[in-house]
C-alpha cells in the first residue's frame, strides 16, 4: 500500500467512521448468536441468492460489459447453493471441533469487522459467497466493490442484507461502499476496528491489502499451465478445456492459459479444438493478438479484452474467424516477456505449446507457473499416475486439477471434492497467507482449549527375575545351543563362572569371554560381538557388576542390530516417548540376555541403561532404551557374600540414592513408589548389617534384592539431581560413584524438600510433593516427627548417621581436595552437571546457581536443614503424598 497520506474530507471521514461504527456494533451484537441463530439466517439468504441469481448476473454483465450472463447466473448459483451445501452442517459457533483423545477442543471466535474488496470479473457471485461466509461466522462486512461493478455488487449486498436482517441478523451487518475512491479503501484498510481485509481482485488490490499492516486474505492473479499428456483422453480433455476457458468468457482466474501438449498428440488435439469451434491462429494472427491483447510493457491484459467473446476479440484485432468461434488458439514457442501470450489472459484466448518430451512439457509448465501463476491453479490431463504425481510435485499451485476443467474445477464442489470458493489462496508463491480455497474457517479465529492431559506412564521390568540364594539354578530352565558368558577375570578366579556353568544344561555349548573390569570400551564391545557371531550364540549370560552387564547389553544390541549407530542412539532426549532417535526393532539373532549381578548397587540386571566409552574417538556413550533391558535377571546373593567392605558401601549407597531419587522423581508412580520405598527401608535396615557382618546371608540377600528393587524403581521413574552432581564430581576427581553420591545425598534431600525456585513441568503431578514423599519415607523408617518438616529433617539426620556408620567421607574437603582446587573446578562441574540428563526427572528444576550451592554444601559437608515451606506449619499429611 502506498505510504502517501490519505486525503479525505471531514465529511467523508465521518461517513466512513459511521460505517465502521455501525459494523462494529453489529459484530458486537452478533457475538451473542448461537449456531442455531446463525443457521436460521443463512438458509434464507442462500435461497434469496438463488432466486436473484439470474437478475444479479444480468446486472453484472450490463454494468461491467464482461462475461456471459448465463455463466454468471451459474456462478451465482454455485456461490450460494454449492457453498451452502458445504457450510450447512459446519459448526462455526462455540465448540467447532473436539479431539477427545487429545483433550482438546476448538472454539470459534468471530473476527469482527471484515473489509472486503470484490473483483470486476466475478462481482455478484463473490459478494454472495462472502455474505454467506460472514453470517455463518458472525462477522460484519464492509464491501468495497470494483468501481466498475459498484451497482451490481450493491444490489447483491442489498439482497443478502435484507434477507439476513429479516431473519434476525443485526442491523448494519453488511454495508457496501458506493462512489468510493482508493483513499476510502486505504482509510478503511488502516482502520483500527477492521479485523481482516479480504481482497479478491487484481494484483493492486491484493498488494494493498497485504501492505496495510492488517491481517489479510489477498487472493488474485494466476496463470494456469495445463499439461495435456499423451496418455490423456483427448476428446474429454479438449471439451473440458473449452468448457472451462470459455466459461464466463474466461474471467475465472483459475482458467486455462497455456496448454502444453505432447508432440505425439499435438496435431490430433488441435484438430479436436478446431472441430469443436475453436480457431487455431496462424503465426501472423498469433503475432497480432500478442501485440494487442497484452500490454507489452507490463505483461498485463488489455482491459478491453477481459471477459469478451472470442469473436469480438477477433473482430477488434482484425482476425477473420467463423461466426460461432468459441476460442482463439495461439501456438507459442516460449514463455516470458518475449512471448506475451504466455501471460494470464482472462478472455477466450488460449496458448498452446508443442512439447518434444514429458521432460520439456513439465519444464514449460513450470515456466508458465512461474510467469505469474505461482500458488494459484494448474491442470493436468493424463492417465499415467506417475505423470500426475510428478506434475503435482513440480508445480507450485494451491489447486492441481486432474482430468477436469481448471476454472470450474478450482471453484470446488462440481468436478471434485474441494471446498467451494470464490477466493483462491495462492500461498507464498502468490504473496498470500494460504493456499486453501478460502472458506468459512478463514473467517474465524479458532481458539484451542487444551485441557491438562496425563502423560501415559509405564512400568517395565525384565520378563523374569529370579532371586534369593542359588537362584542361578534357574538357568537349567533355559534351552540354548550356544551360550556365551561375558564376565571379568576376578569373578572367574573366585569360581563364580564355574558356579554358573554348573547350572547350564549339558547340551548347551558354553564359551566364556573375559573382559576388563572397567567401563566397557568400544573395542571390547566389538570383540564381544565378533565372539557372539563366531559362536552364533543364542544366549548371552552377563556375570558381573554394572560394567560387565552394560557391556553385554551393548554387545547384544550390536549383535542383533549390526547397523545400529551407537553414537546416534545416544542422542540426548527429554522425553523417552518423544525421542528423535528410535532404536531398531527387527532383531537378527533373537538371542536371550541373562544378567547375573555380582554387586548390590547398580541394578543393571533390570535397567534399560548402558554406558560405554570410545577411547579412540574420545567420547562416552550413555544408552537408554527398554530394548536394552535384559530378558532375565538373576539376583543370587552367593556372588556378593565375599564382596569387600568398600564395594559393599559404595554399591549400597548407590542403591539408596536410586531409591530416594526415584521416590521423589516427577515420573514416580504408585508402581515405582512401592519399589522405591521398600528399597529405602531395606537399605536402612540391612546395609549396616552387611557392612558390619559381611557373611550375614540375610543381610546380603536383602541388600542384593534392595539393589534390584531400587533399580526397578529408577528404571521407570529415573533418578535426579543427586546423580547429575555425582556424575560430574566423580568424573572430575576420580571418586567412585557411590561415594560421590553419598557426598551429595543429605544436601539434595534438603534441597528437594524446600520450596523450589523453579518447579519442574510435570503434567502427572498436581502438587509439589517431594517433601511429603520424604516424610513418608521417614514414617516407613519409623523415624518419628510430627510435621512434614520434622520428618524430612529426621530423614536427613538418619541418612547422615547411616553414612557416618559406613565410614563414608562426609565432605569433599575430607577427600583432600583444596578449596582453591575445588573453586577452580566449580564452573566446569556446574556446566557438566547441568548438561547431565539425570536431573530432568528431579522434582525441582536446578538453576546453575543452585547446582553450585549444592556443590559447595557438599564441599563443606554436614548439617543440611530441612525447610519445607508451608508444610512445616501443618501436621503430617504424608499419606496423601502419592
Amino acid at each position: 500500500m502506498s505510504d502517501k497520506p490519505v486525503i479525505l474530507s471531514e465529511e467523508r471521514i465521518a461517513y466512513l467512521e459511521g460505517l465502521v461504527r455501525q459494523a462494529r456494533a453489529a459484530a458486537a451484537v452478533f457475538s451473542q448468536f448461537t449456531q442455531e441463530d446463525v443457521d436460521r439466517i443463512v438458509k434464507p439468504m442462500v435461497l434469496a441468492g438463488l432466486e436473484q441469481a439470474q437478475y444479479l448476473a444480468r446486472l453484472a454483465v450490463e454494468e461491467t460489459k464482461i462475461g456471459v450472463m448465463e455463466d454468471k447466473a451459474i456462478k451465482n448459483m454455485v456461490a450460494t447453493e454449492f457453498v451452502y451445501n458445504y457450510v450447512k452442517d459446519k459448526k462455526t459457533v462455540g465448540v467447532i471441533r473436539e479431539y477427545p483423545e487429545r483433550s482438546l477442543v476448538e472454539v470459534a471466535e468471530p473476527i469482527g469487522v471484515i473489509f472486503s474488496m470484490t473483483p470486476i470479473t466475478n462481482p455478484t457471485s463473490t459478494v454472495l459467497f462472502k455474505c454467506i461466509m460472514a453470517i455463518k461466522t458472525r462477522n460484519a462486512v464492509i464491501f468495497s466493490p470494483h468501481p466498475n461493478a459498484g451497482k451490481c455488487c450493491y444490489e447483491a449486498v442489498r439482497t443478502m442484507y435484507e434477507t439476513a436482517v429479516k431473519c434476525g441478523a443485526p442491523e448494519g451487518v453488511f454495508t457496501c461502499l458506493q462512489g468510493h475512491t482508493l483513499d476510502d479503501n486505504k482509510y478503511l484498510m488502516r482502520h483500527k476496528d477492521i479485523g481482516l481485509i479480504d481482497a479478491t481482485g487484481g494484483p493492486g488490490a491484493v498488494k494493498a491489502a497485504y501492505s496495510s499492516g492488517k491481517p489479510a486474505l489477498g487472493v488474485g492473479a494466476g496463470n494456469t499451465p495445463v499439461y495435456l499428456e499423451k496418455s490423456a483422453d483427448i476428446p474429454m480433455a479438449v471439451v473440458d478445456i473449452i468448457t472451462s476457458k470459455t466459461f464466463d468468457n474466461g474471467t475465472i482466474c483459475a482458467s486455462e492459459q497455456t496448454v502444453v501438449i505432447d508432440d505425439e498428440i499435438y496435431d490430433r488435439a488441435l484438430d479436436q479444438f478446431a472441430a469443436l469451434g475453436s480457431h487455431v491462429c496462424n503465426e501472423k494472427e498469433t503475432e497480432i493478438l500478442a501485440r494487442t491483447v497484452i500490454d507489452p510493457k507490463t505483461g498485463y491484459m488489455q482491459p478491453m479484452a477481459v471477459g469478451q467473446k472470442a469473436t469480438n476479440i477477433a473482430k477488434f484485432v482484425g482476425i477473420n474467424v467463423k461466426p460461432k468461434t468459441k476460442l482463439l488458439i495461439t501456438p507459442i514457442t516460449g514463455v516470458g516477456p518475449e512471448h506475451p501470450l504466455s501471460y494470464e489472459k482472462l478472455f477466450p484466448v488460449l496458448s498452446v505449446y508443442r512439447a518434444k518430451s514429458m521432460d520439456q512439457a513439465l519444464k514449460v509448465c513450470i515456466d508458465v507457473n512461474h510467469n505469474g501463476g505461482l500458488g494459484h491453479t494448474a491442470v493436468v490431463f493424463s492417465n499415467n499416475e506417475e505423470v500426475i504425481q510428478k506434475f503435482g510435485d513440480v508445480i507450485n499451485a494451491g489447486r492441481i486439477i486432474v482430468n477436469s476443467p481448471g476454472s470450474i474445477g478450482a471453484l470446488g464442489g462440481v468436478y471434485n471434492d474441494m471446498v467451494p470458493t470464490f477466493s483462491f489462496g495462492c500461498g507464498t508463491g502468490g504473496g498470500n497467507s494460504t493456499t486453501d480455497n478460502v472458506n468459512v474457517f478463514h473467517y474465524l479465529n479458532i481458539k484451542r482449549v487444551a485441557r491438562r492431559t496425563q502423560a501415559h506412564m509405564w512400568f517395565r521390568v525384565p520378563n523374569q527375575i529370579y532371586f534369593n540364594m542359588n537362584a542361578t539354578e534357574n538357568l537349567r530352565n533355559f534351552q540354548s545351543r550356544s551360550t556365551l558368558i561375558i564376565t571379568n577375570a576376578p569373578l572367574e578366579q573366585l569360581g563364580h563362572v564355574d558356579a554358573v556353568k554348573r547350572c547350564i544344561p549339558t547340551e548347551t555349548q558354553v564359551r566364556v569371554t573375559i573382559i576388563p573390569d572397567a567401563e566397557p570400551d568400544i573395542k571390547i564391545i566389538r570383540q564381544g560381538v565378533e565372539a557372539l557371531n563366531f559362536y552364533k550364540a543364542d544366549q548371552i549370560i552377563a556375570l558381573g557388576g554394572g560394567s560387565v552387564i552394560d557391556a553385554a547389553k551393548i554387545m547384544k544390541l550390536q549383535y542383533e542390530f549390526p547397523e545400529a549407530d551407537l553414537e546416534e542412539l545416544a542422542a540426548p532426549f527429554l522425553d523417552l516417548r518423544k525421542r528423535v532417535v528410535q532404536y531398531p526393532t527387527e532383531k537378527t539373532n533373537h538371542a536371550r540376555l541373562i544378567a547375573i549381578s555380582t554387586t548390590s548397587g547398580t541394578g543393571s540386571e533390570v535397567t534399560p541403561f548402558a554406558v560405554m566409552t570410545d577411547k579412540e574417538r574420545g567420547f562416552k556413550v550413555t544408552l537408554a532404551d527398554y530394548s536394552l533391558t535384559p530378558d532375565v535377571a538373576i539376583v543370587d546373593p552367593q556372588y556378593v557374600m565375599s564382596m569387600p567392605k568398600g564395594l559393599t558401601v559404595d554399591t549400597g549407597v548407590d542403591c539408596l540414592t536410586h531409591a530416594l531419587e526415584a521416590g521423589v522423581s516427577i515420573f514416580a508412580s504408585p508402581y515405582t513408589d512401592s519399589n522405591a520405598m521398600m528399597a529405602v527401608r531395606m537399605v536402612f535396615k540391612y546395609l549396616p548389617i552387611a557392612f558390619e557382618n559381611p557373611k550375614d546371608e540375610e543381610a546380603r540377600t536383602m541388600m542384593h534384592n534392595a539393589a534390584c528393587i531400587a533399580a526397578i524403581a529408577f528404571s521407570n521413574a529415573s533418578v535426579g539431581v543427586n546423580h547429575a552432581l555425582a556424575h560430574a564430581f566423580g568424573a572430575r576427581f576420580g571418586v567412585p560413584h557411590g561415594k560421590a553420591n553419598a557426598l551429595m545425598l543429605p544436601h539434595v534431600i534438603a534441597y528437594n524438600a524446600a520450596v523450589p525456585t523453579k518447579f519442574m513441568p510435570s503434567p502427572n503431578q498436581r502438587a509439589y510433593v517431594a517433601h511429603k514423599k520424604y516424610a513418608m519415607m521417614a514414617d516407613l523408617l519409623g523415624l518419628g516427627g510430627h510435621t512434614v518438616e520434622e520428618k524430612v529433617q529426621n530423614l536427613i539426620t538418619a541418612t547422615e548417621q547411616l553414612l557416618d556408620h559406613l565410614g563414608v567421607p562426609r565432605s569433599i574437603s575430607e577427600l583432600g581436595i583444596s578449596k582453591e582446587e575445588f573453586e577452580k573446578a566449580i564452573p566446569d562441574l556446574a556446566k557438566i552437571a547441568f548438561d547431565d540428563p539425570s536431573w530432568r526427572s528431579n522434582p525441582r528444576m536446578p538453576l546453575v546457581s543452585e547446582i553450585i550451592e549444592l556443590f559447595w554444601a557438599a564441599y563443606n559437608g554436614r548439617g543440611p536443614k530441612a525447610a519445607v515451606g508451608d508444610a512445616k506449619k501443618k501436621k503430617s499429611e504424608t499419606m496423601v503424598a502419592v
Binding site: 451484537v29 451473542q32 442491523e171
Partner: protein, 91 residues
C-alpha cells in the same frame, strides 16, 4: 458529602426503551446513575445504540454511570463495541 445514586432497572425485554427512559431522566445534579442489568440476557443493535447514547448523554452532564450485574455475554458485546471504558461495573 452525600452521594446521590439514581437506580434504574433495565427491562430485559425492552432494553433500548428502558435505556432511553433512563437517559431522559438523567439529571446533572446526580452524581451517579446505577443501571441494573440483571434482567438483560442479550442485547440487540438498538439496545447497544441506546447504551452508547446514554454514555454520551451522561458524559455531557458529568454523570457517572454504573452498570450492575451485566452478564458475561453482554459484557463482551460492550467490550467489542468499545463501550466498557465509559462505565463503571459492579456485581
Amino acid at each position: 458529602m452525600t452521594t446521590v445514586v439514581n437506580w434504574h432497572k433495565v427491562d430485559g425485554k425492552r432494553v433500548a426503551q428502558s435505556l432511553q427512559e433512563a437517559r431522559e431522566n438523567l439529571n446533572s445534579s446526580e452524581v451517579q446513575l446505577l443501571l441494573d442489568f440483571s434482567e438483560v440476557r442479550r442485547i440487540d443493535p438498538a439496545g447497544l445504540h441506546a447504551v452508547e447514547d446514554l454514555a454520551s448523554a451522561a458524559e455531557a452532564k458529568s454523570v457517572k454511570v454504573g452498570l450492575r450485574e451485566v452478564n458475561v455475554d453482554v459484557y463482551k458485546v460492550l467490550k467489542l463495541a468499545r463501550l466498557t471504558s465509559r462505565f463503571l461495573f459492579e456485581n
